[in-house]
């Protein structure tokens, strides 16, 4: 099961500058394990304590995986996985 993974600018130092890489797996978790085997350290940028890192958005085709089962999202041959930085922040000041 081979999928294409689109890598954002901030993670390209991990992928030797590659914008698009391929990985194998039947779930997103397996694909991330494979990515980390190919590009050491990439897994830690995507997953923290067993869950998708809050600093990234991951999509399978047109769906945000937060709404499709997270790391357990199943993948089919030829699926397009897109990683984007979560664009977020804010003053964080309450009251």
């Amino acid at each position: 099961m081979s999928v294409t993974v689109s890598v954002p600018t901030i993670l390209r130092p991990q992928t030797k500058g590659e914008k698009s890489v391929t990985a194998t797996g039947t779930t997103l978790a397996e694909v991330i394990t494979d990515l980390d085997a190919q590009y050491a350290g990439l897994g830690d940028r995507l997953v923290k304590e067993g869950a998708l890192h809050r600093f990234v958005n991951i999509y399978v085709n047109d769906e945000d995986v937060r709404f499709t089962g997270g790391l357990e999202t199943s993948l089919a041959d030829g699926d397009q996985v897109t990683i984007l930085p979560a664009v977020a922040g804010g003053s964080g000041v309450t009251g």
Binding site: P8, T9, V56, N57, D64, L84, A88, G89, G90, G92
Partner: protein, 139 residues
């Protein structure tokens, strides 16, 4: 330094005022590698919050695909602080994921005046930079 046309500053400040007291957010796109802001694109703050913002994730996916197709990139990421100064918070720094971008903060805490400041945020390090507002429409 960020060089930005006055009309774009006005558009961002108007967006921030319109969404006040919630934080407003968006980007300015430009040709990849040019460091030149050309298109202001207001984004939905999915949090609709006075203290937090997050781009709607599907709107963001659509935007990033469009930028790719047009050979553009994010030149500026902007958002407003509505009760505090225009300086990156710890949350802003933690999330900053566009190393090539200028991070613009607008403060709307004062009704009659605004602060408009720009920063680089790379690997958790904040560096404020000058903002040059260009009046000319020529590029």
């Amino acid at each position: 330094m960020l060089t930005i046309p006055a009309a774009m500053v006005d558009a961002i400040v108007s967006h921030a005022r319109a969404d006040h007291p919630d934080e407003a957010c968006g980007i300015i796109a430009g040709p990849a590698g040019s460091d030149t802001p050309t298109r202001v694109i207001p984004m939905t703050n999915a949090e609709r919050s006075p203290t937090f913002y997050r781009f709607d994730s599907l709107e963001q996916l659509k935007l990033y695909r469009e930028l790719d197709e047009r050979d553009e990139e994010v030149v500026v990421v902007y958002h407003s602080h509505t009760a505090t100064e225009a300086y990156p918070s710890r949350t802003d720094i933690a999330y900053a994921g566009e190393p090539q971008a200028h991070y613009v903060l607008v403060s709307t805490r004062e009704p009659a005046t605004h602060e408009f400041r720009s920063y680089r945020i790379v690997d958790g390090v904040v560096t404020e930079e000058d903002v040059e507002i260009s009046r000319s429409t020529a590029s």
